[in-house]
């Protein structure tokens, strides 16, 4: 319990108000010295578990709802910005500047009929949107939103993050297969292939961060960033961003729901709020993923002058802007080329990144305790080397790797006979 609350200003106040007693005086009573009488909370000693449950629920409720509000605002922002990228106005009818558009969307989705196709597997069909949304929200459990603001600082935070985000492949596949629609099937099958493939380079890319930070806890990773890891791990950042956009099926890797190819992919058959869940999961995924990227590579909530929460939000929305920008520019990658890109291009680069980072730590780091520390000069040298390695390796691999796959050879008998001129 104490491990959870250490450094957590989000939950400590409420917890102490409920359960402050002699046992947890260290955390709950400011200025407490051994021998002094501790503050007394509402609950008697021995009821800390209740206090903890209440605190956690309240914190989860707050974070979730604030996040949902943010996600709603983000859907508005995305549509608006894409409108501007496309030299049009975007939604501007509901409320001032169209700000109530997400509310209108939500009302529309809630009042729509929820159709379950005849050929669908009802259980899986209903479960899939929930699985999709829940996994997306579980990421919030470990994200530090600001200084001392997080729900849980578990020591395997990064591992938890990776594990939880991979579940959405299952949700997408469930939706695709349960719909009993062939376009949805295509989407589901593509999902399995693509989401699992991109897990690999993504995990490899964060290994560099782990090596530098020496911890799996996201709070520790933020604290370890004296220099943003973007500078020390440009290659890792690139792979992680590409992998993340594939994981969220954002363009240019939105093959799972490629509207021009497979109509709406895995959620072709969904309507009403079930579709709304997918929609919510997709849009909020951009925010959570931007949060993860900001935490891992952009110093997290750290920043001068402004409060830490503002810095975090700024970074998240800055990254989201880049995602929107990319979405409004790039065409879609074909599914086999998506796969080739993961396995032929990103995977070797990820391995290279680990190798280079490990070598640099060995050479440049001074051993201290269990880990190694770096001088400022060492860090800058490392950044220089890594930027060079990134540009060089991407350039070399662009030449080496061809993503084009030939067509299936078709014998002439299957085609029209063509006489020469």
């Amino acid at each position: 319990m104490n491990a959870f609350l250490a450094g957590n200003s989000l939950m400590r106040g409420l917890y102490c108000w409920l359960a402050a007693n002699q046992g947890n005086a260290q955390e709950c009573s400011p200025g407490w010295q051994p021998g002094m009488a501790a503050r007394d909370g509402l609950l008697p000693a021995g009821w800390e578990w209740l206090a903890f449950a209440v605190t956690a629920s309240v914190a989860a409720f707050l974070v979730l709802n604030l996040f949902l509000l943010l996600a709603m605002f983000y859907t508005y922002l995305e549509r608006r910005l894409i409108g501007r990228f496309q030299v049009r106005i975007g939604p501007n009818r509901t409320g001032p500047w169209g700000l109530l558009q997400p509310v209108a969307d939500a009302i529309k989705l809630l009042t729509k009929e929820s159709i379950i196709p005849d050929g669908a597997d009802r259980w899986l069909f209903n479960l899939a949107p929930i699985a999709m949304v829940v996994t997306m929200f579980m990421v919030l459990a470990v994200l530090p939103f600001g200084e001392g603001t997080f729900i849980a600082d578990i020591n395997v935070g990064l591992l938890f993050l990776i594990a939880v985000t991979s579940v959405n492949a299952l949700a997408v596949f469930m939706a695709g297969v349960a719909s009993g629609n062939r376009y949805a099937m295509f989407g589901g099958v593509r999902a399995v292939a693509q989401l699992i493939s991109y897990e690999v380079p993504m995990v490899l890319s964060v290994v560099g961060v782990l090596l530098l930070a020496g911890s799996l806890s996201l709070v520790d990773i933020v604290n370890a960033q004296r220099v943003p890891f973007l500078l020390l791990q440009p290659l890792g950042f690139f792979i992680f961003v590409v992998g993340a956009s594939a994981e969220m099926n954002r363009p240019p890797f939105d093959t799972l729901e490629a509207e021009s190819e497979i109509v709406a992919g895995y959620h072709t058959e969904y309507s009403g709020m079930k579709f709304g869940y997918f929609w919510l999961a997709e849009y909020s995924a951009v925010l959570t993923t931007s949060g993860v990227i900001a935490t891992l590579f952009l110093n997290g909530w750290q920043g001068p002058l402004l409060p830490s929460h503002v810095w975090f939000l700024l970074k998240v929305f800055g990254l989201a802007f880049v995602f929107i920008w990319v979405r409004s520019t790039l065409p879609r990658v074909r599914i086999d080329q998506t796969m080739a890109f993961a396995w032929k291009f990103l995977l070797p680069l990820g391995l290279l990144n680990i190798f280079v980072t490990a070598a640099e730590i060995l050479v440049l780091g001074q051993p201290q305790g269990e880990g190694r520390v770096f001088s400022t000069g060492g860090l800058w040298l490392m950044a220089g080397i890594n930027v060079t390695v990134t540009i060089g390796s991407v350039a070399v691999f662009s030449r080496l790797v061809s993503l084009r796959t030939p067509a299936l050879p078709v014998p002439a008998a299957h085609l029209s006979r063509v006489e020469a001129r």
Binding site: F85, R88, E261, P331, I335, V410, A413, L415, A420
Partner: protein, 390 residues
């Protein structure tokens, strides 16, 4: 020539394994999917019955006719002037060229010659329409490639300006009915010329922008280079014309080889592609837009004041006979075959629809490629269902 797969008692997987040795390597069944008639990127109500092995296309059967309105039958009971309104609705993103091809056929039938100024106005209108049609084709092709509507909106922005010019010319934006047998309906208003000059000045910059936007884009290049290659021999054999044939590398442009109206007085190049793949079919439309701009510029310089309509009776009664007139439409050779029996209505009105005939090669182009490629290839053929189904 094989269309369809013939009758075979073998299970479908076995059948395809025999036809395409590379297919069905895993223990799987071919899947048949109806792409369309309600599908975001079939460019109208068009259906492709596709058999897949996973994502790979084993067989395609295009099915159309959903938009069949019987234009050819309707024309048989309308006067020669009234038929113009029908031609507007054939290829509804290129009404001007439809009008032009039809009035050329009717003029050939009636032995009329339009005045010079009318011919220049027609050429200006037709070339503007070609730009508009190519903009639509490019925008939708890129949309099919998955570039989330952005290039489409950019293309629409420029097309809007052309539609504004058309509104000045004839008061309508889509269904124009501007041309008449023996000329055009009305001379261009005075504010048309400055607006046209402004457009001609701006447009090359916008074409540069499209090129910067996606022509070099690695994703686009990887997806379209070498995909669905159409050889010149195959194209000619299948009567494929227009940008598709030129993208295969064959410089066949009716404006050059069989100049009509005033095309023999303007200088322009015929852009050709190298490989005949989807990339060339995408790129050639951008190049053709530049050439169209050149033609319009020269026409604006050469046009002289004068009448815009030859004297002809209100109810045209061409002598009995037949005539086939063709123009280089935005999608290919657009021909009208008219038969007259001396009455006020054409006895037979037949349209050689370029996108209908260009579709012939679709099956051969996409077999062996993937679902996503099929969509792009369909987009690169640039079909218009109003014209395919008539």
């Amino acid at each position: 020539m094989t269309t369809g797969l013939g009758l075979s008692a073998a299970p479908p997987g076995e059948r395809y394994k025999r036809l395409l040795p590379g297919a069905m390597s895993m223990r799987s069944e071919p899947v048949t999917v109806n792409v369309g008639p309600q599908h975001p990127s079939t460019h109208g109500v068009f259906r492709l019955r596709v058999t897949f092995d996973g994502e790979i296309i084993l067989d395609v059967e295009p099915i159309f006719g959903y938009l069949h309105r019987g234009s050819e039958k309707l024309a048989e009971e309308r006067t020669y002037t009234q038929v113009i309104t029908l031609t507007d609705r054939l290829d509804y993103v290129a009404s001007m060229t439809n009008n032009q091809a039809y009035v050329l056929a009717a003029e050939k039938l009636a032995g009329l010659r339009p005045p010079e100024r009318a011919m220049y106005l027609r050429v200006i209108a037709a070339e503007l329409q070609r730009i508009a049609s190519h903009l639509m084709a490019t925008g939708f092709l890129l949309n099919d490639l998955g570039a989330f509507a952005t290039p489409l909106m950019y293309c629409f922005r420029e097309r809007e300006k052309i539609l504004d010019l058309f509104e000045m010319l004839c008061g309508a934006r889509i269904t124009l009915s501007y041309m008449r047998v023996g000329g055009v309906f009305q001379d261009a208003p005075e504010d048309f010329w400055p607006a046209l000059r402004k457009f001609l000045k701006e447009m090359p910059g916008y074409i540069d922008e499209y090129e910067a936007l996606l022509v070099e884009n690695e994703i686009l290049v990887t997806r379209t280079r070498g995909v669905s290659v159409l050889t010149v021999d195959h194209a000619l054999n299948a009567s494929v014309t227009g940008p598709m044939l030129r993208a295969s590398g064959f410089p066949w442009d009716l404006r050059v080889v069989d100049p009509y109206e005033v095309y023999d007085r303007v200088r322009f190049d015929v852009p050709v592609g190298k490989a005949g793949d989807n990339y060339d079919r995408f790129k050639i439309r951008l190049d053709e837009m530049r050439q169209s701009l050149r033609i319009v510029e020269q026409c604006v310089e050469q046009i002289e004041p004068g009448p815009v309509r030859a004297e002809s009776p209100a109810l045209l009664r061409p002598p009995a006979g037949d005539a086939y007139a063709r123009i280089e439409g935005p999608k290919g050779e657009l021909g009208f075959y008219l038969v007259s029996d001396g009455s006020i209505a054409p006895y037979r009105f037949k349209l050689r629809a370029p996108s209908f005939i260009n579709l012939t090669v679709l099956r051969d182009l996409v077999i062996g490629w993937k679902l996503a490629d099929m969509i792009v290839t369909l987009g690169s053929i640039d079909i218009n269902m109003g014209e395919v189904d008539r």
